[in-house]
């Protein structure tokens, strides 16, 4: 029998698998699709690998937020490249600003553009370094409004947080700060595709005798005497284990638990009624050889200082993130560029009944139009970009829904609400003592959030094993 069965092979599932396998437990990971990795997986088009959700990682240097976690997971061995000292550039209404690595340099850099707000910037930097669980109840937007009297600066410091859902009423300071802080410590890009991360974690699991099975979609869980006893897959295989970890969306997990008497309706209702975050539209560009020099920083471009309200009024596109891919051939020029912009689910309403590859000509035209809008915005930083594009591949929240099983294509899992933190932040434990949760919907999204949650999930199992 397996010690631990993990449902879903996103980053959280694989990290749990690797951590527990290294601690000597027999791990089985079941993945419904044809490849492991979830949002970390890459896909191949025209001889190049394109990533789904990996753009940059923060805090990998010794003593910083992610260093020890990635060291334990064996992920520090991957070819990380430190980004420019000015790692995030922000352009709002044509004005250009930069975030610098290191808190002092961050304050100093923006302090030059906003000398009247230098004290506020210092206070902000101190706060980012001292975030506690109590900040789950603090509204990020309210905190920023009280800290910065200059509205443009409020928008500038928030601009790079496009990697979470910026929503004025709900986003907790806890989440906002975790989205920003580790990148200020130091920022890194992976040379090569994100599957390296997936392959490393899968390798760790397999070297310890564990398995990662694809085409193994779990369709139900069976309970016996108050514990989950087995998982049944669509292909008819049944697997038993001592512990089960769910790395799928909690609402999807509830459908697997329908026959389990210990899981009451109240739990299912809370998990299925929770709101999801908005999705993202991505235009992944293949750039003509020699056309564009590589730049080791991200660029966030907004039409105007409406960073916090843009998501709901982003049609046509009013803000875009530019992420360059490290050249793999030693060239000074890049071949791949990602353009990302938030895209709420309601923009997909005409195609919710469609499946991959069968969405029709109007969907293709919609994606093409949106990609052109993203490219037009990106031309504020890269003049003539349109002419440099050799190929353009697009993805929408529908892509996330259909490939990754993310309800409503939410890019950051279930929404967290500072007004109801008890309801929107979830424990990794459940009422079934051997069923645990992990992944971006539980506490925090992003690579840092998912990794922190994976460690918490695994600690529950190791504590339980130690007790018995």
């Amino acid at each position: 029998m397996n010690d631990v069965l993990i449902i879903g092979s996103g980053l959280g599932g694989l990290e749990c698998g690797a951590l527990l396998a290294k601690r000597g437990l027999k791990v089985l990971v079941l993945e419904g699709s044809n490849q492991p990795g979830g949002c970390m997986q890459s896909f191949r088009r025209g001889g190049l690998h394109y990533d789904t959700g990996l753009h940059y990682v923060g805090g990998l240097a010794p003593g910083q937020t992610m260093h020890n976690a990635f060291a334990e997971l064996g992920l520090l061995d991957l070819p990380w490249q430190r980004m420019d000292e000015d790692f995030d550039h922000v352009i709002i209404g044509g004005r250009h600003f930069a975030f610098h690595q290191g808190y002092d340099a961050f304050v100093e850099g923006l302090g030059k553009d906003f000398p009247h707000q230098r004290e506020a910037l210092q206070s902000y930097a101190n706060r980012l370094r001292n975030i506690t669980f109590a900040d789950m109840d603090v509204c990020a937007y309210d905190y920023l409004s009280q800290t910065f009297t200059d509205e443009l600066l409020l928008n500038v410091v928030s601009a790079a947080a496009m990697k979470t859902e910026l929503r004025r009423e709900t986003l907790p300071l806890f989440n906002f700060a975790h989205t920003c802080s580790s990148y200020i410590e130091s920022s890194w890009r992976l040379k090569g595709h994100g599957n390296q991360l997936v392959n490393k974690l899968v390798g760790t699991i397999e070297e310890a005798g564990g398995k990662v099975l694809t085409h193994s979609k779990v369709v139900s869980l069976t309970e016996k005497e108050g514990r989950i006893e087995s998982a049944t897959c669509a292909n008819g295989h049944v697997y038993e284990a001592e512990f089960f970890i769910s790395d799928i969306h909690p609402a999807t997990l509830c459908t697997l638990l329908e026959g389990c008497p210990s899981v009451r309706k109240a739990f299912r209702r809370r998990m299925t009624m929770a709101e999801n975050t908005c999705g993202m539209f991505t235009a992944q560009l293949c750039i003509k050889r020699g056309a564009l020099r590589y730049f080791a920083h991200n660029v966030f471009i907004y039409d105007k200082p409406n960073v916090w309200t843009m998501t709901e009024e982003n049609n046509p596109v009013k803000g875009v993130m530019i992420s360059a891919r490290v050249p793999e051939d030693g060239s000074d020029c890049l071949r791949q560029l990602d353009l990302l912009t938030p895209m709420p689910w309601h923009e997909c309403s005409a195609w919710t009944q469609t499946t991959v590859g069968r969405r029709g000509e109007d969907y293709k035209k919609f994606c093409q139009r949106k990609a052109e809008q993203c490219i037009a915005m990106a031309e504020q930083y890269i003049p003539g970009l349109h002419e440099m594009v050799e190929q353009c591949y697009t993805s929408t929240p529908l892509t996330y829904r259909d490939y990754l099983g993310s309800p409503e294509g939410g890019a950051f899992g279930m929404r967290k609400d500072c007004r109801a933190s008890l309801l929107s932040f979830h424990s990794v434990s459940t009422t079934l003592p051997n069923l645990l949760l992990t992944g971006q919907s539980i506490m925090l999204p992003g690579i840092e959030g998912v990794t922190m949650t994976a460690f918490e999930t695994c600690s529950k199992i190791t504590q339980d094993k130690a007790r018995h």
Partner: protein, 80 residues
């Protein structure tokens, strides 16, 4: 809603959602034992009250709600 309406509605809802016999719910009965709540399923109770009445029970006030009568009082005082 009147207090009587709240009592009738929330009792039926809690019995359904927590899968217990409604007759076990009386004003002075202890909520935790009656609904078989632990620290994890307690959140489900908060979720039901919020969804049904738009009333959010805060962390600070949670320890003061020990009986169903205290829950009815809280909803009645805070309902929108």
């Amino acid at each position: 809603m009147t207090r009587e309406e709240i009592i009738a509605e929330i009792n039926a809802e809690l019995a359904e959602e927590f899968e217990i016999d409604e007759s076990a719910i009386t004003p002075d009965a202890p909520i935790y034992q009656t609904l078989e709540l632990d620290s994890l399923s307690l959140v489900d109770l908060i979720g039901i009250v919020q969804t049904k009445y738009g009333v959010l029970i805060s962390k600070a006030e949670l320890p003061n709600i020990k009986t169903f009568a205290q829950l009815y009082d809280y909803i009645e005082q805070h309902q929108k």
